[in-house]
Amino acid sequence: MSTVLESTKAAPSGAALKEGASPQGNASHRRGAAPQETAVLQEDAATLGKTACAIADAAAAAAGSSATVRPTDPADIAASPFKRDFPLLANHPELAFLDSAATAQRPKTVLDAQRRFYEDMNANALRGLYRLSVEATEAIEVARERVARFIGAPSARDVVLVRNASEALNLVAKAFAPTVLGPGDEVCITIMEHHSNLIPWQQACQAAGARLVYLYPDEQGVIQPEEMDAKVGPRTKIVAAAHVSNVLGIENPIAELGRRVHAHGGYLVVDGAQSVPHMKVDVQALDCDFFAFSAHKAFGPFGMGVLWGKHELLEAMPPFLTGGEMIDSVTEQDAQWAPVPEKFEAGTQDAAGIYATAAAIAYMEAVGRDVIERRERALVRDCMEKLAELPYVHVIGHPDPDQHHGVISFNVEGIHPHDVASILDMQNVAIRAGHHCAQPLLAWLGQESCCRASYAFYNDEADTDALVEGLKTVWRTFNGE
């Protein structure tokens, strides 16, 4: 116990740094960070209290490790200086990891934060009256604040911590949808939804006698205004859409969908699983009613998801899961719910995962959202230019690389995606092949399955070159020289 207090008193130079990428003491002084970053770190230490130190440490370590070697031009995609922040990438220099849309790699600071929680703060949050439990509770609340700030949420009280984006979307479809859906009503989704933002709406519509209506994009993957006008109308109670498609990589017109559905008194649900890792997200600017994402695609731990909702909607909804810690009082026959967000957080939370999620956010902020975006744009552009030189490779979706947000789906003429992925795997190139949990989209595209290379900011030109060389080998394997 005493180590917790001692190690966290002197912010921000705690345990996370001892094993972190920046081993020498107070990183924010040592590394000569940009003034803006220093300000963020000082604010963390001052306003978020002592349990925030590991998070601040994570930010400092991230900034420290990358600042010293950070390229002057973020769009410089020669050897990535960020790979050394990620133990898996550092341990496997031969690997071209191009499957970050499935799950990203985690920086050491995130792994350290998880470990630090168990070593210094572990107790069951909310329940205990002793200091360690209070610390664990505080860690969750600090993380909640961090998440709220990260997505532009006006209040951390409206951030519900769940297991993943699927659970967040199920929560909305199971607890909120029945309160607004009736027979003859419509739920409108896009054809490019991941199954996790599709099946919950099928179920909700079946239960309510409502109709599930699909928005279809044009041949480049863009949902046009006429399509939105045709599909979103007075019967539309809910529009649910992927912010960014996990197959096409395209960003959907969320704000425009919101304007239309709100004009008819309906609600907008956004699946942000593929946008949060790649772009700055502001739930208020999007004017959505619910926003869901998973931590593991955004450099955080598995098993952590976030649902943000407008406060009055969360207040009015019944709970989704019931049990411990989501009540105010319980009698033999009835129960009173705890306030939002605890009302939606039944059972013991993964406090360590929540804490590590905050460290992942701190890491992303230290790297810089602008740097992340610019690197990914450069990486995708480079890849699409190189793929265009292979006549047998056909990229699916928009011809403009800037519309791909880290995701490039493609097919190799006459060769099944599983064979492509296997032969690439033999050359240490990891891509995804299959239906990508978006079977209706692939059916609509007229494909059984496809290949997908997906990027994060830690990738570099060498990863793309390995992919391109690998694809040449794939072609030769099936077609000779």
Partner: protein
């Protein structure tokens, strides 16, 4: 570089499958689906007097699943249902990584080339699709009935 399972025999069966066609008068057909990858196959048999006189398949899938189906059809054509069951069981054991005797491997003929798939767990299902479908058909006993 991309050696192991992508052998010349596999590539040949994939590119020019002898047994991929619609059979005129099958005594039994069965659909096989690989839900994780969307591969689909319809296996057709013509069984007379307990002997598989004709085997053919249609559908789509990766090179491994297509070649495996073609090798299987080649292997079981002309065999008794009993022997086809034994061969199917041998193949499924092999791709699960069980050690077969050299005589058993010889019995599997070209299909024995898929032995190394057991070291690629993600692809085992591809190799198995046709054989699992055949196993279900033979298990049901349907093709033996005239």
């Amino acid at each position: 570089m991309a050696s192991s399972i992508y052998t010349a025999a596999l590539m040949e069966h994939n590119a020019h499958p002898d047994y991929k066609y619609d059979m005129d008068a099958p005594t039994a057909t069965l659909d096989g689906v690989n839900p994780s990858c969307g591969d689909e196959l319809v296996l057709a048999l013509r069984v007379e007097d307990g002997v598989i006189e004709e085997a053919a398949f249609t559908g789509h899938g990766c090179a491994v699943s297509q070649a495996s189906a073609d090798m299987m059809a080649d292997l079981v054509t002309g065999e008794t249902v009993e022997e086809a069951r034994r061969l199917t069981s041998l193949f499924l054991s092999m791709v699960k990584g069980e050690e077969l005797s050299s005589a058993e491997l010889e019995d599997l003929d070209e299909a024995a080339e898929l032995e190394s798939i057991s070291r690629m767990p993600a692809r085992v299902k591809c190799a198995e699709l046709a054989w699992r479908t055949l196993e279900r058909m033979l298990h049901d006993g349907a093709p033996q009935e005239e």
